[in-house]
Each structure stands twice: as structure tokens, then as C-alpha cells.
Symmetry: C2
Subunit: 599 residues, 2 copies
């Protein structure tokens, strides 16, 4: 095919767009080069060039889905409320879900993902184990009402996704279906030349289910992940703090209460404690010796407890902070925020600034203050590092007093563990593969063993080999097609424009005719025909009255990887072939160009 | 490509679906044969077979759009309110528009058509006449909140449409761009084997604009259109009643008022009048001699008058009725309904059952009762047939009295014309090409010269050849892709299933292996390979344990036009080739089948 710029809907722009999304360099280039146009925050229209790249990406995804044995279907974007209510997601999605009513007052949503309708379709059409395993996929436009849509296609409110869902009778079957999609994702990213890390995205708390993210290591990524030299890799939310061994309690010093006025921070507390209390083993007190208490308000989003607001105290070493994303995993299904003054007012037992696990009597005996069995009745969770036999400096539950040598397992216990402290470089990998380092990444794929949650909620059962009805187990697998296009643009560019990898470039060759000599245009026209005959998709800049400088600038901005310039040397049968990526320019006999570029 | 039924997501159903859409035979077949599944009223999911047919249809449309010089783009379904407010469509669309708010309270809609964002995109990117003419199109999922979505894909709430928009500087340019799309539509329908009538869809009241519908003549169509043997064809809404010549008033009889109790209908009035009043020319009074008055309540939907409810009296011959669809054209931009008792109570001058144009005094002199200049002040519009010199039986504005010989132009005049009576077979074509007949049709395409309405509302101007800013003139052109698929299914079926035309059939050949003999399956397998090598797309029913009857039933239901059955005769190198449309079955040497089917 030959596409002539003299008759193509393409307007390159000199100025960067003013929209908020322009914070990302590739977005500016995609807009300036005429690939996309913004319609509203996080919502874009596709121009002819953009449609071409997107189409090529979709084709690669389709090929690998076919190779993985998945069947293509297509669901509507607008779906009725009921199916999402049955799984709890109508509420759980909160503000991120676009909801609407039809003229009869029936509720609908614009689907953020399609687990529910896929489950119901399989329930409708499949009744026996003989029809499984089955993996279905679609390439479809999805909706999420992001609070701050940013970075253009990287995080839009409307975006194209390939989502696949697998259906199996057995856990082993699910593991196989999962592996097939996982392998397909590896092939897709390899074909696109995308570096990726596969990281655990789930702590395994959901009963043996498994979830992994494909992260592209990049500074503009929104996710932080951790990895060890020994091969461990996980999303920060999925990092599991190794639990140290318990220590002997016998022989540990008894609690010592001391005055601690004017110690509003851990730093001031440590300095003050060092000043007034010499540590038994002679070394100085540090922040890691203190037990900090954070009061959280936890509100259930859905289910029977929906709307209920619970106050929870979390204890963690003073040198750590709560990581709210990790906290969201601990309190899945709930909204979390720091307790407000109003919350604390309802719990006079929680003495702001001096909250501690226990009250110490004059004789050194202790009474629990935190925990559902204690005097406050407030649920009390501890960082996994606070094992029995560890000794802490913490609040004494008396104004302007702290206590040292308060020993876990002797002076206090908790209602459970909350693994929500921040994760740091140097922390141990949970699999013993050494210390971890942290890195930024952008999620470009996600594979998830859902297990039976959706099938149970929606009643998807089939007859097994023994004629018994069993609940199906499912996986879900997503790739953001438009996000990947943005990632490719971000990774493949320079200050002059985009540099597409060949596999997704809008054209194979960008042919430029320069000058005013009719002979040059005739030669270029002939060459265009030869390239087309060689099976190449040609973008032909045949604009008669546009200067060479503008043509070259457009070619660099648009970013087709191979540019052929037919100019003054055409009379001698010579044209210039540019490699957009390396900037290399070489003079080539026109008669040889088709063969050179078809390689 | 070979697609094996042993490993394909296809479940045919024996039972008709229960959904309301199943009123249409083709919808039942599309569901039973595994092409689509209903998600909510008028909203469907696409199964692999359905996606194949839809994809082929889209490809045909794309090819013809390319041939017409149109460029493909793609807009989001969700668009911000503001642009549709600027053109008045945010309100005008009424309940048919899906509206929603995002988390920040900003209003959005799910677009029913995309005139606004296309206009704005061209405004953004085009500034000179040199870039015009330009025609852009997309194939995209649209939304309309139909009150009663029915007939499956024929009238859905989510549906796929090809919509194109042309941009020109001059009216002549628009006419050319319009013609190119119109020609492309003719080519598309011809390729699909669809019969069509091109009918005028607009009375021309909007200032020279032109609009035509492509209607498929069919009894299940929702539109009524009229046509003459002489070539006239129009939508009923677009039919313009020819205005008869005025008649001489001189010498016409003076008004005669007479008692008319118990005449609630035109029929009783005519019978009564014939009984009490002999007509001057000797013939009997008929319904066509009476002037009937209909009181309408007209409410402006948008603009400065939004919400204002006006009472309008329309006079039309007693043998005609108001056609509400034609009335909607007359009162474009307004909601119309029959006036209520409450409306009439506010206008005591309108005497229910005896409303007339004038009051007749004892001396025969008349006073206007209807019209903005009359004693009621109510706007009064007349059917175009009621020209000066026509004489009428009508209400006398006195309880239980009518008047005969009330003459238009002598005894009453109106504020204007309202061409909203029903159109009937035998009425004259407005172009003088003879009497019309009426027919039912289904709209399968619509081409529309929008003119400058949208460009003006959204400020789309370009510099013309003289460097002057001029407003662009536009056209819009739509084809319902999913509706056409339903139309094709409806037209091509029998009681056993679908019969797809080759151009859009999901596969080229449906190859069935029957029996339990492994040799048969091997032969079929080989044949599948040969057919694939010949470039044919093969659906291969290789299911090992399914009876021939079920396989044949599925083949007929699915409707691939050519079926090849490899069975007992395979040992002799013979298979059976079925023509699904004619039912013809012929024995063919297996070695010759590929050549036969590739023809």
C-alpha cells in the first residue's frame, strides 16, 4: 500500500499540547505527530496514524492468544448492575466505576473488567467438564474513573485492553491455563522488545491463588517493586516480611517507666530516652528499639458490615512507617484512613502521643491496654517483627510518660499480625535469596488465578467426570493495549520525535521526495511503486510545495524507522536511506532499495 | 485457516431464547446458532462466529470508504457534555441519550452519533481551504437508550455503526462529497446483495439541505415510505403534499349554520348533515367535505423557549388524521401531544366537539375564532389542501351546532400551513410522477447534508482562497453495521437455520466428517488441508462422538453456504457437496472439491 501525504489526514503540530497529560514526553509526541487527540481528561480520539499502530499491536496480541488456544469474543462496555452486585464489585469499585441509569431507572456500569459477564456466558453455554478447559478473550474498550487521569494513554479513563478468562475444573487445570497465558505474555513482550520483570502481586493470603504482574522497569512507573539478586521479585504490596524467631523471655529486664515530656516524634523520644535512661547492654537507644502505635479507621465497603467504621491500633518499629498500599492489602475490602480526632475522642483509653500496649503498675506488673480483650477493647495488630522476647520502648498510657523494656509475649500480646510497614532496600527477601533492592515499574500485564470466587458468586458449576456438579475455577489475564502503545512511545523516542519498533510502526518506510524538480517526484513515485510491490507499506511524502526541512522534521516526528529520501542525487540513481533509530544515513542505489528494506 | 469444532467455543442451542428480542426469527437463529448472546435489553455480546461475520461486514465497509477517499479515525464512546450542549443535542436527544457523571461531577454522554467531536477535531487541525474537502469515518460502538429495544440487533441500545462526516468550503463541494458517500453506500449494499430504495428523508425545509435514506423494503421494517411508478420515493415524513390551485370564491354559497346534536365523530356528523342539509350541487356530503380541528400541545425542548407549552389548532380534511411522525417534522425541536382537558380548560374559546374557524352571525357575517389575530389568540395552522375557495362543513363554535359552506379565504384564514396529515396510497407524488403507493422499509443507511449548522454552533471556520474566514459545510453518513448483519440474517434463512451470503459468511466451507471410521476422519483431515491450501477458510466438524444428524443440524443452523460431507463414500474418493441455499446435494470426487469451491 502507498499512502500519500498529499492526501492523508495528518497534521503535525509544532507546539506541545497544553493538556495536563503532557507531563509525559511521549504523550506530547503522540499528539504533535498526529496519533491521538484528547477529548476529555484521560479520554482520547485516534487519528489514522494512531489507529495503524494500535491495530498492529492488537494483531500481535491476537496471534499470541490464538497460539495459546484462546477464543475471541466481544462483550459490551455497558453492563447491567446485577451481575456486578452478585460479586460485590458494584460497591467495591467505589468511585472508580462509571455508573449510569437508563430511561427506566435500571442501573448499568461501564465495565472496568469483565469477569462477571464471561462467567455468566460460560454458565449459560457450558455444562460439562468435557467443554473445559476453555480460555476466552476480547480486545475491548474499558472504563475506569481515575481520580487523576494522567500521562495520556498510560493511565486513561477509557482504554483498550485485551482481557482473557480461563475456566477449569481442577486446580491443576487452572495452573496450566494460567501458565499458557503467562507464556503468551512473555512472547508478546519479547516480540515488542519490551524488558519486563514478572513479580508476585499477591501475598497468597487468598487461599493458594497466584497472581503475577509484568512490570516494565522505568522511572515513570507508578508501581514500586522489590527484587533480590537471588531471583526474588514482588510487588511491594506482595512482599511478605520474614518473621524472626522468637527470643527467650527469661532474664529480660523488667519494665521501666520514665517521664518523657516534649517528645512528639520518634527522634525526640530516642534522644530524650538516651539522655535519661542508660540501656542495660550499654549501646544507645535507636528508633528501631521503639514501638510506634498508629491508629487507623477501617470502614467496610461492601457486605453485611458495609459502612461500619472500626478503630484499629497497629504497632510497628519506630523506624518504619505504614505503607498505605500494603495496608490496603491487609484490610482488603475496606477503606482505610488515619483515625481522626473525633475517632480518638470516642476512645478515651487511647492517650494521644503516649499510646502503649500495656499499663505498668508500681510493682512492675502489667495490664493490657490494647486488644479486643483489653480495657480499651480496640483491635490491636502488630508488625511481624515484634515477636515474643523482643523488648521495646513505647507509650506508658500516662501523660508525658514512656516505658522501656516492655517485652512482647511477657507484657503484651496482640490480636494478630499486620504486615503493612514500608519495605526498604536491604530488607531480606522472604525466600532467603538475599537482601532486596527496590525499583520503579509500570504494569504492562497481569495474570491472576482467581480461583472459585466469581464462579461461586455467580453459580458457575459443571458436571465432572463422576457426574457431580462442581464449581469451576477461573483465571483472568489482562494486557493494556493502549498503555503498551504509550510505553513503546515513551521508550522509543528522542528529542526530535518518535522511533517506532518495526513490528508496530505505522508504515514500513517513509519515502520523502524533496526539491522542485518534476523528475525527482517521478523517480520517487516509481520507487514507491517498487516498494509497494515488494510488500512494504509506504508513507509517501509527495507534497509538492512543502520544504525539505519541514518534510524531514515530520519524518523524524512521526518516527517510521526507515526513511528514504529521494532528492538531488535521483538523477544519478541514488537516494538516501536513513535509520531513524541510529541516525545513520547512507547513499544507496535506488534500484537496490526495495531489496535492502525487505530484508 | 482450519477451525476445528472439536476445539472451538461454539454451543448451538435447540431451544429458542426466551428474551423479548426473539420476536424476530433471525434473532432466534443468531442466538441458537451461537453468534450473539443477550446481556441486557438491546445489548449483546459477540461469540466467535458472530465476530467473524461482523468483521467481514466491517471490512467491506472499510474498502468502500477507502475507495471513496475517506480516512479512518476512532472516537471515544464517552464524550463530555459541553460539545453536545453547544449544538443543542444534549437536551434535544431527550431520554434517548445515556448520560452519566464522573467522580468530579462532570457530565458525559455515551454518543449516539459523533457530529460534535468530528467537527471539533477538524476545527483543531484544519485551518485552510487547502485541506478540504475532507471526509473522515469511524467504525464504532454507539449508544441510544431506546424506549423499547426490540428485534435484537435490528434496534439495539449498543450497536456498531460506520459514521462518516464530510467537510467542505462550498455547497458544490458538499454536494460532491455527499455523492461520493452515496455512491459508496450503493456499492456496499450491492456487494451485500441487499435490495434498497433511496428515499428523500427531508422535506427541504432546512434551507437547501438534502437527506436520503437507504431503505430495505421489508414487512418487518419500522419505516413507511412512499413511491410512485414514475420514480419518486420518500420517507413518509418527507412527503410534501402538493398544494392544489386556489378556487374562485365568487358565487359560493353563504355559510349555513345548523343544529348537530349527537355527532361525536366525523361519520356521525356526515350522516347527520346528509339527513338535514341537502348539498347545493346535489351530491352527498362526505368526510372529505368536513374540516376537522385537532388541538395539539407543543412544548419546546431546548433553546430560549425550552419548557414553554403552546396550544396549537390544526385544521385538516375530516377524512385525514394527524400523522404524529410528520407532525414531529412540522414542530421540529418540540415535544407534541394531544391537548389535555387541562389545556382546553385554559382556552374556553375552544368548544370541544364544535371547534370551528369562525363564528357566523345571524346576518351571515363571520368573525375569526382561531388564529393569533382572532378572539382566542390560538395559533391556527391548516393542511395544505385547504386553499382559498374551498368550502367546508365544520364546527360553529356553538354547542351542538355546525356550519356548512364555510369558505377558506372568505370566512377564515390561518396563521400558516401544517403538512402533517397521513399519507395514503393514491395520493399524488409531489413531482407529478403519478399516484404513490406505500411500502414498509428498514433503514440501512442514511446520508445527510448537514450544511453549516454544526460548524456554526462549534465555530469551525477556515480561510478560503481569498484569505477570508468562512464557515465549513458538512455532511454526515451512517450505516448500522450490526443492523445490517441482522438484516442479512433475516433475509437469508429458512426454518432450519441461517444461509449467509458468501461475502459475509463466517467460513467459506463447513466440512463435516461423519461416521466412526478412522479412515473417514483421515480423509476429511486431508481434504481440510487441501481446502486451506486453496485459500479457503474451513470450519471442520471433526467432533469424534457426535452423530451425523446433530452435525448436519448444526451445519444448517450455522449457515455456511457450502457444506462438504465426508462419509461412507470417502473410501471411493467421493464426498457430498451441499449448497445450503438451494438445498442441492451433489456427489463430487474429493480430488476436485478444492477446485470447485475456489471458483
Amino acid at each position: 500500500m502507498i499512502t500519500r501525504l498529499s492526501n492523508y489526514f495528518l497534521k503535525t503540530l509544532r507546539e506541545d499540547p497544553a493538556e495536563a497529560e503532557a507531563e509525559v514526553a511521549s504523550h506530547k509526541l503522540l499528539v504533535r505527530a498526529g496519533y491521538i487527540r484528547r477529548q476529555s481528561p484521560g479520554v482520547f480520539a485516534w487519528l489514522p496514524l494512531g489507529l495503524r499502530v494500535k491495530g498492529k499491536l492488537e494483531q500481535i496480541v491476537r496471534e499470541e492468544m490464538a497460539a495459546a488456544g484462546a477464543h475471541e469474543v466481544h462483550f459490551p462496555a455497558m453492563l447491567p448492575r446485577e451481575m456486578y452486585e452478585a460479586t460485590g464489585r458494584w460497591e467495591e469499585y467505589g468511585d472508580a466505576l462509571f455508573r449510569l441509569q437508563d430511561r427506566h431507572g435500571a442501573d448499568h456500569l461501564l465495565a472496568p473488567t469483565h469477569e462477571e459477564p464471561f462467567t455468566l456466558m460460560v454458565k449459560d453455554l457450558v455444562s460439562s467438564y468435557k467443554d473445559l478447559p476453555l480460555t476466552l478473550f476480547q480486545i475491548q474498550d474499558k472504563y475506569r474513573d481515575e481520580a487523576r487521569p494522567r500521562a495520556g494513554l498510560l493511565r486513561g479513563r477509557e482504554f483498550t485492553m485485551k482481557d482473557a478468562y480461563s475456566f477449569d475444573v481442577t486446580d491443576e487445570g487452572l495452573a496450566e491455563s494460567y501458565q499458557k497465558q503467562r507464556d503468551a505474555y512473555e512472547r508478546i513482550f519479547t516480540r515488542l522488545g519490551l524488558e519486563y520483570a514478572i513479580v508476585s502481586a499477591d501475598a497468597g493470603a487468598m487461599g493458594g491463588s497466584r497472581s503475577e504482574e509484568f512490570l516494565l522497569p522505568t522511572e515513570i512507573g507508578e508501581d514500586t517493586f522489590v527484587r533480590s539478586a537471588g531471583g526474588y521479585a514482588a510487588n511491594v504490596e506482595a512482599y511478605v516480611t520474614p518473621v524472626p524467631e522468637s527470643l527467650p523471655i527469661e532474664g529480660l529486664p523488667a519494665p521501666v517507666v520514665y517521664d518523657s515530656p516534649d517528645t512528639p516524634t520518634i527522634d525526640t523520644l530516642v534522644a530524650h530516652t538516651n539522655a535519661v535512661l542508660k540501656r542495660e547492654d550499654g549501646r544507645a537507644w535507636t528508633a528501631a528499639d521503639t514501638l510506634k502505635h498508629v491508629v487507623l479507621a477501617v470502614t467496610h465497603v461492601a457486605g453485611e458490615l458495609a459502612g461500619e467504621r472500626e478503630i484499629v491500633v497497629v504497632g510497628l518499629p519506630g523506624d518504619r512507617d505504614v505503607d498505605m498500599k500494603r495496608a490496603e492489602v491487609v484490610f482488603a475490602g475496606c477503606d482505610i484512613e488515619p483515625a481522626t480526632a473525633a475517632d480518638l475522642a470516642k476512645h478515651p483509653g487511647l492517650l494521644r502521643g503516649y499510646i502503649g500496649a500495656a499499663r505498668v503498675a508500681a510493682d512492675g506488673s502489667t495490664t493490657a491496654v490494647l486488644g479486643t480483650e483489653s480495657e480499651t477493647g480496640v483491635r490491636y495488630l502488630l508488625d511481624p517483627r515484634i515477636v515474643p522476647g523482643t523488648s521495646w520502648v513505647t507509650g506508658a498510657n500516662v501523660d508525658e510518660q514512656h516505658v522501656a523494656y516492655l517485652v512482647a509475649g511477657r507484657d503484651f500480646t496482640a490480636d494478630g499480625i499486620a504486615d503493612l510497614s514500608d519495605v526498604r532496600a536491604g530488607d531480606p527477601a522472604p525466600d532467603g535469596s538475599g537482601p532486596i533492592e527496590t525499583a520503579r515499574g509500570m504494569e504492562i500485564g497481569h495474570v491472576f488465578q482467581l480461583g472459585r470466587k466469581y464462579a461461586e458468586a455467580l453459580g458457575l458449576k459443571v458436571l465432572d467426570q463422576n457426574g457431580k456438579l462442581v464449581t469451576v475455577t477461573m483465571g483472568s489475564y489482562g494486557i493494556g493495549v493502549t498503555r503498551i502503545m504509550a510505553v513503546l512511545a515513551e521508550l522509543n523516542r528522542d528529542d526530535r520525535g518518535l522511533i517506532w519498533p518495526r513490528q508496530v510502526a505505522p508504515f514500513d518506510v517513509h519515502l520523502v521526495a524533496t526539491g522542485r524538480d518534476a523528475g525527482i517526484f517521478e523517480t520517487a513515485e516509481e520507487l514507491a511503486g517498487t516498494l509497494e510491490a515488494a510488500g512494504l507499506d509506504v508513507l509517501f511524502d509527495d507534497r509538492p510545495k512543502v520544504s525539505p526541512g519541514v518534510k524531514f522534521g515530520d519524518a523524524e516526528l512521526i518516527g517510521v524507522p526507515r526513511v528514504v529520501v529521494v532528492g538531488r542525487d535521483a538523477a544519478d540513481g541514488i537516494a538516501e536511506v536513513w535509520d531513524r533509530a541510529t541516525g545513520e544515513k547512507s547513499k544507496v542505489a535506488i534500484a537496490e532499495i526495495a531489496a535492502l528494506l525487505s530484508k
